[in-house]
């Protein structure tokens, strides 16, 4: 099952050499960890810090499972699939949302090594998690699905690792698949990323094949950290999670020096001081240790009650004595999309605020601030890293807080210069001033990389041209696979680009994007009027040239979504005072139950009572009841039936 030569890698404390036993049955996990004999600090020479990076679903978390097994960190009995995906939502969706670290110990050529692995998310929305993880590492396993090959996020993540100056170890995963094409994929890696893939390990995270080789490569090829355990303490805060009982759990990579339990430490950026109540490493459960020293990755508990007090990217040093310099830190993750979230029942406003606050404690990457809408009342404008992130936050809100929500269509942030020279940043379409007051209207532009089989290039080029994308370059990853790069308005990406890519390429295309900056556009604010009243929550910003089509599509969709009333309801789309589309929902003509005798009375009453409840949840604008779903009608593309994105 594995390469013939006797393997030099042995389990820590284990007598068995790898290869003596099937990988799926590692020796029992040691009872005591760390060993009583552990030195006060670990020689950095014997530490390896690495991330696993890949395109979404290429098997990072599954490989992490195998590595945990191979090293005996987790016994088979305790093993479950994608063990590091420990959030409920990660398990439900089968994807990694949050990077997660784990420390492993392994014996190699008679020497004990500490391997700190960080499993990262593959989805573009959580790119910043990858960046953070990479700053804690000296190397990265670049995992590529041996069937799918190099995909958009493979490229993005590989470049990210190169920018961080990391040693990249390419690994081909899923070679158990019958259609795996390892040689071609190696070529794609070399060709696209300029990495030497000749020695790329082919493994299967599913069967465990060659996963021991991966560990060996980590030790052999990834350089050890360089810090000095005796220098003043300098540690990087790269993550934090909230624990109900212990407060903030702060994850650090110690760059220099040593931190011990009980020490008084200082956060340089926040300027706050704390006592270290507990520190240790994840194995993968939190396991307390007496100290963490240069090169190590671990956690600290400092009696901090709110995550708001912990700044990701902050530098930890000692509160007394010689202090280290602050590390560069991280860029704030960028909120790419915004939407309004309103409680359907105005009474739930405070509950919603609490729920959002609670979520933010665990996920500081999303932001919210109160806003009011004439149509929807009091609610919040929320900013997300992307559409998936938005969907996830909403799902959590619904699951955890049980609040019925009205969501407005997502939009991007615009920069607007008014005639008087003032610049505005606008997260809400209604806040766009009247056209006459606008000097310049700018929108965010992203560079989008598409990777797809060559036959779909034409389709994607047309799609990008329709979306007014600017062609940047085209590259053949291999004779059959192509990468296309375009600069496109982020609004187009948010609108439906991903869905369109998938349908154009029969699911084989992938995409990644990064923010390029702001550019002036020919943009307008389109308003929707219901029974002659503007519904602020339905306003959108779009390209002037798309306005007519969008307007017609939105009005048509609204006509389907808004139920008939006992009076006629006029629907209009307008730019300024110019009406660009209109429809009428005619008055209800007939709605009366014939039979209503003894047995029907309870049933009917209950039905009507239910309808009354349903009505309560609708938003009433000038006596017109608008169902929650209708507020997403503005996503209607007007290109095909059912073109609206459903949540």
């Amino acid at each position: 099952m594995r390469s013939g030569s006797p393997c030099a890698l042995a389990f820590w404390l284990g007598t068995a050499e790898l290869g003596d036993k099937p990988v799926r049955e590692p020796p029992p996990r040691p009872d005591l960890w760390p060993p009583a004999s552990a030195a006060t600090f670990m020689d950095p020479k014997y530490i390896r810090n690495f991330s696993i990076i890949a395109h979404i679903d290429h098997g990072k978390s599954t490989l992490a499972d195998r590595l945990l097994e191979v090293t005996g960190t987790v016994s088979l009995r305790e093993m479950k699939e994608q063990l590091l995906d420990d959030m409920d939502l990660e398990r439900q969706r089968g994807i990694t949302i949050k990077a997660n670290s784990v420390s492993m110990r392994v014996k190699h050529e008679g020497q004990e090594y500490e391997l700190n692995l960080i499993d990262t998310p593959g989805h573009v929305d959580f790119q910043y998690e990858v960046s953070r993880s990479l700053t804690c590492c000296e190397g990265a396993l670049l995992l590529v699905d041996a069937f799918q090959g190099v995909e958009a996020q493979t490229v993005a993540n590989a470049y990210n690792a190169i920018e961080h100056d990391l040693e990249i170890v390419p690994v081909l995963n899923k070679i158990d698949l019958t259609h795996a094409r390892p040689d071609e994929v190696k070529e794609e890696i070399e060709h696209t990323l300029g990495l030497d893939a000749t020695e790329a390990i082919g493994c299967s995270a599913k069967t465990g094949l060659n996963c021991d080789q991966v560990i060996k490569a980590v030790i052999d090829r990834i350089p050890p950290p360089t810090g000095d355990p005796k220098a003043p303490l300098q540690a990087m805060v790269f993550d934090s999670v909230y624990d109900e009982f212990r407060g903030a759990i702060i994850f650090v990579r110690v760059m220099n020096g040593t931190v011990k339990k009980g020490a008084r430490i200082k956060f340089l950026q926040a300027g706050t001081e704390h006592d270290v109540v507990e520190l240790g490493q994840k194995t993968p459960k939190r396991t307390a240790k007496p100290s963490l020293s240069a090169g190590q990755v671990g956690y600290m508990v400092c009696n901090i009650k709110s995550l708001g007090q912990v700044h990701i990217g902050d530098t930890v040093t000692v509160a007394r004595g010689e202090q280290a310099k602050a590390l560069p830190g991280y860029e704030e993750p960028k909120r790419m999309v915004f939407c309004g979230l309103y409680p359907s029942d105005g009474q739930d406003f405070e509950t919603l605020r609490e729920a959002l606050g609670k979520l933010q404690v665990n996920d500081p990457s999303f932001v919210f601030e109160p806003e009011t809408s004439d149509a929807l009342g009091f609610g919040f404008r929320c900013g997300f890293l992307g559409l998936l992130h938005m969907e996830i936050v909403q799902q959590r809100l619904e699951q955890e807080a049980d609040i019925d929500l009205v969501q407005t269509a997502p939009n991007v942030t615009y920069k607007i210069q008014k005639k008087d020279g003032e610049w505005l940043e606008v997260h809400t379409p209604t806040r766009v001033p009247e056209m006459g007051e606008i000097e310049e209207f700018q929108q965010p532009i992203v560079r989008v990389s598409f990777v797809m089989p060559a036959e779909y290039v034409g389709g994607i080029m047309k799609l990008c041209a329709d979306r007014r994308g600017i062609f940047v370059r085209q590259e053949y990853l291999s004779p059959t696979r192509v990468m296309l790069v375009y600069d496109i308005a982020l609004a187009e990406v948010v609108y439906d680009l991903h869905d369109k890519l998938k349908s154009t390429t029969k699911g084989y295309g992938t995409m990644d994007y990064e923010l390029r900056g702001y550019e002036p556009g020919d943009l307008v604010r389109m308003d929707i009027l219901v029974k002659n009243e503007r519904v602020d929550a339905l306003s959108i910003v779009c390209d002037r040239r798309d306005a007519d089509t969008r307007g017609r599509a939105v009005i048509k969709k609204l006509k389907q979504e808004i139920p008939r009333h006992m009076f006629e309801v006029a629907l209009q789309a307008a730019i300024g005072t110019r009406i660009i589309a209109r429809e009428t929902i005619s008055a209800m003509r007939k709605n009366v139950t014939a039979k209503c005798y003894g047995g029907d009375i309870s049933r009917k009453r209950k039905l009507w009572e239910k309808q009354k409840e349903g009505k309560k949840r609708m938003k009433s604008i000038g006596q017109v009841d608008i169902p929650q779903k209708a507020f997403l009608a503005v996503l209607e593309t007007g290109e095909e039936e059912g073109g609206v994105k459903s949540r």
Partner: protein, 385 residues
């Protein structure tokens, strides 16, 4: 002293009783009633169960003013069975002076013996499931009777001195306004005392529902159904029928007193599978499955499947809504006396709006549905409940 409305409730026992007869020869495609098709073998246990249910529900005989045998198809029991049911029912529910006793029948079942049995028992009102006179429509509805059966049934009823009510269905798939008018006129020509008209509805769990889902059947356009309904109102008014409830029309003095009790919010007894009763402020519905009903009752268990005790306010609101389905509407004074709530404290805002939209008429004392209101009334009720 108790308030008037509570006193009234305390002293008044229900004055109406409903008996459900769950037997039909087959199940018509549009029907979702509680029934068993082709299971006359269950009749003996049914009688046994009824007897037991009466006993445990009523303890002792309870006099009523109106008695109603509905179904299903009570006439499936045949002359002998009907006589037996009549005896059982009137033992437990002796009829007060001036009673109304209705039996639903299928025109196909009506022969001299059945008519004779009903007449001899004292039944004075026959509700005929006539539905239509047009063969193609009857076939589409999967009814097993013909137009001649309707005529014969009416004649037989007359011989027994029974008043007649005809049920008619409209807005069946493919039906034209003219075809409906023809049905109406044929019905009027038989000079019944009472006519009920129902727009066909597609109910979940019927074969019609599935056929519509598959596109084999199409429901009538709203506009056509509306025209048919309005035509019925006009035709029947011209023929001297008073439109007194959404679906019900009667010659003067011939309203269904039993049904009026439902709409007024009065209480009533009930027995049989799927039957609903309203006694002492509690609404109960028996299990809809005939076999479950039989099994439970015969095992000495309660056949009640659903039960709800209404608060005084929801009682009042329910009464408001169901009473407004009657064309004469509701007098503020009567409502307050009966419920202890004023109409305006319950629904002033909604009423004002509906009056503005001309869906309700309000003369200060009485509110009632306007013609347009009648047509969309289901959309109004949620705002009043």
């Amino acid at each position: 002293m108790l308030p008037i409305h509570l006193q009234a409730r305390k002293n008044l026992m229900p004055r109406a009783a409903y008996i459900h007869v769950p037997f039909c020869s087959h199940r018509c495609g549009y029907c979702n009633f509680a029934l068993v098709a082709g299971r006359l073998d269950l009749v003996p246990s049914y009688f046994e169960a009824l007897q037991r249910e009466f006993h445990s529900q009523l303890v002792e005989p309870r006099e009523v003013d109106t008695l109603y045998f509905g179904g299903g198809t009570p006439s499936q029991l045949g002359a002998e069975g009907l006589a037996r049911l009549a005896e059982l029912a009137t033992h437990w529910h002796p009829l007060a002076e001036g009673f109304e006793w209705t039996v639903e029948t299928n025109p196909a079942d009506m022969d001299a013996a059945v008519a004779q049995a009903l007449g001899a028992a004292g039944v004075n009102r026959l509700s005929l499931g006539s539905q239509s006179f047009r063969p193609a429509k009857l076939e589409l509805l999967e009814r097993d009777h013909r137009a001649e059966d309707i005529q014969r049934s009416v004649e037989l009823a007359r011989q027994q001195g029974m008043a007649v009510s005809l049920d008619l269905i409209f807005a069946t798939p493919g039906e034209t306004l003219q075809q409906w008018l023809d049905d109406l006129r044929l019905a009027i020509g038989l000079e019944p005392e009472h006519i009920s008209v129902y727009g066909l509805t597609f109910e979940k769990g019927t074969t019609y529902w599935g056929r519509r889902e598959r596109g084999e059947l199409e429901s009538a356009e709203d506009e056509l159904e509306r025209d048919m309904y309005l035509a019925a109102i006009e035709e029947l008014a011209a023929a001297g029928f008073e439109h007194y409830e959404v679906s019900n029309f009667a010659r003067p003095g011939h309203r269904s007193r039993h049904n009026e009790a439902y709409w007024r919010g009065d209480e009533y007894y009930a027995a049989g599978p799927g039957a609903a009763r309203y006694v002492a402020g509690v609404r109960e519905t028996n299990h809809r499955s005939t076999t479950t009903y039989l099994k439970r009752v015969l095992a000495g268990e309660s056949p009640v499947d659903e039960r709800e005790q209404l608060t005084d306010e929801s009682r009042a609101r329910e009464r408001l809504v169901f009473a407004l389905r009657r064309l004469e509407g509701l007098r503020r004074e009567d409502f307050a006396a009966a419920t202890g709530f004023t109409i305006d404290e319950l629904a002033a805002e909604a009423i004002q709006r509906f009056v503005e939209w001309k869906l309700l008429d309000d003369d200060g004392q009485r509110i009632r549905l306007s013609r347009e209101g009648l047509l969309v009334s289901d959309a109004m009720w949620p705002e009043m409940l």
